[in-house]
């Protein structure tokens, strides 16, 4: 069992190789392509989130990294070492399964000690390490209990301890918080982040919950239909989603079709001749038409006769709902049927259904999607 080896794989140029590297990794089930030529590098000590709707191929990707699913094509490297065909028990990664997969016939102690026992760590060391690890996940004193006597959140932490105790170089988590209720999920998000900081291991966290991904991850990859559509920090992805899918999956957006008038100044025109401006760098070169987006919270409403710099669309408030921290409006403009606007309830005036207003936002808050 001592076959678990660490190979100091270095890149030819001497730089530190990424913790996980996928190169055109593809997985087909029969005719169906679940993962479609994914390439990505995940650096050491990252909290990396794989975010996407159900069925987009997140679990399959994770299972290929863990070795539970064979790749149809492509190469998987862990710290520079090609592990593509290698069995799971010979990879220095550990997994926290969605269903936790705790061994029901073993005590909490033996569950956590399982990986160490397979590697012939001696009893005294196992004892101290299990105790330390249970302390880390705040389950000290539960050693002798069986998994089924613990609550969902506690089982989740045992699963985490059972994986982390092996000091894997990469930890894979498949929707680890999916089975918990909202309050516990919020707590565990913070807890997981704390543990990741403490142990300094690369976490790859699969989730379909955009808020969870944004709360925890340094880097988010948004998956859609087996491909990675967008990768970056939460802010980068949110502020410039680049595709219509990402814009809609992360938060809400107003999307509109526009013709480019002058790419160098960023001037575009909507239907009915409404002119808007976009940061010039964002307009694709050589295109005539683009799709623009703007987040509801970036838009302000002002009285229709106000003189305002920036992008402005005149319209009619067709719905206004006060929800405490903010007021949500739906505005009918000629160019866009229903513009969603979210206004913080500061001291400025609120509008009511039927008011004629101007919806304004800054040109740099306009993004372009394909």
């Amino acid at each position: 069992m001592a076959a678990v080896t660490d190979v100091a794989g270095g890149l030819p140029d001497g730089g530190e190789p990424p913790a996980v590297q996928l190169e055109s990794v593809t997985k087909r089930f029969g005719d169906f392509t679940a993962v479609d030529e994914i390439s990505l590098d995940i650096e050491e000590n990252r909290f990396f989130a794989l975010l996407g709707p159900s069925g987009c191929g997140k679990t399959t990707t994770l299972r290929m990294i863990g070795g539970f699913e064979e790749t149809t094509a492509g190469i998987i490297r862990l710290h520079g070492e090609d592990v593509t065909g290698r069995k799971p028990y010979r990879r220095m990664v550990n997994t926290v399964f969605q269903s936790y997969a705790l061994f029901p016939h073993l005590t909490i102690f033996e569950n956590v000690a399982f990986g160490l026992r397979r590697r012939d760590v001696d009893d005294a060391e196992i004892k101290t390490r299990v105790a330390e690890m249970l302390e880390l996940v705040q389950l000290g004193g539960r050693e002798k209990q069986k998994p089924h006597t613990l609550s969902g959140g506690q089982q989740q932490r045992v699963a985490l301890a059972r994986a982390l105790i092996n000091h894997p170089r990469v930890l894979l988590l498949d929707e680890p918080l999916g089975a918990l209720d909202l309050k516990l999920r919020k707590e565990m998000q913070i807890e997981l982040k704390r543990i990741q900081n403490e142990v300094g291991i690369t976490f790859i966290h699969v989730t379909h919950d955009q808020e969870e991904a944004m709360t925890m991850a340094d880097t988010i990859a948004v998956m859609h239909k087996g491909r990675i559509e967008r990768m970056g920090t939460a802010t980068e992805i949110y502020e410039d989603p680049q595709t219509g899918f990402v814009a809609g999956f992360l938060g809400a957006s107003n999307l509109m079709q526009a013709d480019i008038v002058d790419a160098s100044t960023g001037e575009v025109v909507l239907a009915q001749g409404r002119r808007l401006r976009v940061s010039p760098g964002r307009l694709p070169a050589g295109e005539k038409q683009v799709r623009l987006g703007v987040r509801p919270e970036k838009i302000h409403l002002v009285p229709v006769d106000a003189e305002i710099e920036g992008n402005a669309l005149e319209g009619l408030v067709i719905d206004a709902s006060f929800i405490g921290v903010s007021t949500h409006y739906l505005v009918e403009t000629g160019a866009i049927a229903q513009l969603a606007v979210m206004a913080q309830n500061l001291d400025d005036r609120r509008f009511a259904q039927g008011d004629r207003i101007k919806a304004v936002w800054r040109p740099e808050h306009t993004f372009v999607v394909t």
Binding site: P88, Y89, V93, H105
Partner: protein, 295 residues
Amino acid sequence: MSAVGREVSSSAPTAAWRRKLVPYGLLLPGGLWLIIFFVVPMLRLVSVSLQTGIYPRYRFAWAWSNYAELVTNYGGQAVNSLVYAFLATAIAFLIAYPLAYFIAFRGGRWKNFLLVMLLMPFLMPFLLRTLSWKIILADHGLLVDLLKSVHLLGEDGRLLATGVAVVAGIVYNFLAFMTLPIYVSLEKIDRSLVEAANDLYASPAVAFRKVTFPLSRPGVVAGTLLTFIPAVGDYVNAVLLGTPQQFMIGNVIQSRFLVVLDYPVAAALSFTLMIVTVLLIIPYVRAAGTEDLVA
């Protein structure tokens, strides 16, 4: 107001009573069944086992000597029973476990078909099934000739009318009772547990030893008991596939009850068989520790 209060107070005791009686009422049919068809016959069996006399006139006489006959006259058959039942259980387990494992883990969409195939032989009457073993094991049958040609069997060796034939018959007849419980317990195992073991550096063999097998133990215990218990008392296989040399305690009981009409000894043997079986099973079930597994 007061009328309502009186009504409540007067009906309260009866309602409480009724609630207390309901569980006993529910137990009644099963309890009666147990008393009429188990407790009473068992007491009757014990009382018959202590009678003496000559058919048809037996009388109760604390005749403990009936029990001594097992050792004095039927020791050989008793040993045959235990040895054959033990061997048959062990062999059936060795065949059934891989079979059940294959169907549960590799059966895929053929699972139900394979299970039906497993049960198919049982559509044939018990006697016919056992008799067909006579043909398979016959002295100049294919199997014997084959074993002779590879020198696994001597020139004048035979299978039929030996302990081998009796054990083979028992294994065959009880194989499904061994396979089905094991299959059920394997089928229930969450596949992600095996993956978790692999993830934690257990090779497939170690994952089997540490996770799959322990989790299938309830099925193994059930299967071995369902095979061993009827096998110890079996007599048909010894009659059809063996000779009086291979007779088991079941054969003795059968002939005492139905041929010689020596009811007291037959009863004493039956009762002893039961007690011995129970005494063997209790430590086995304890050692297998199935109570740990019940979630």
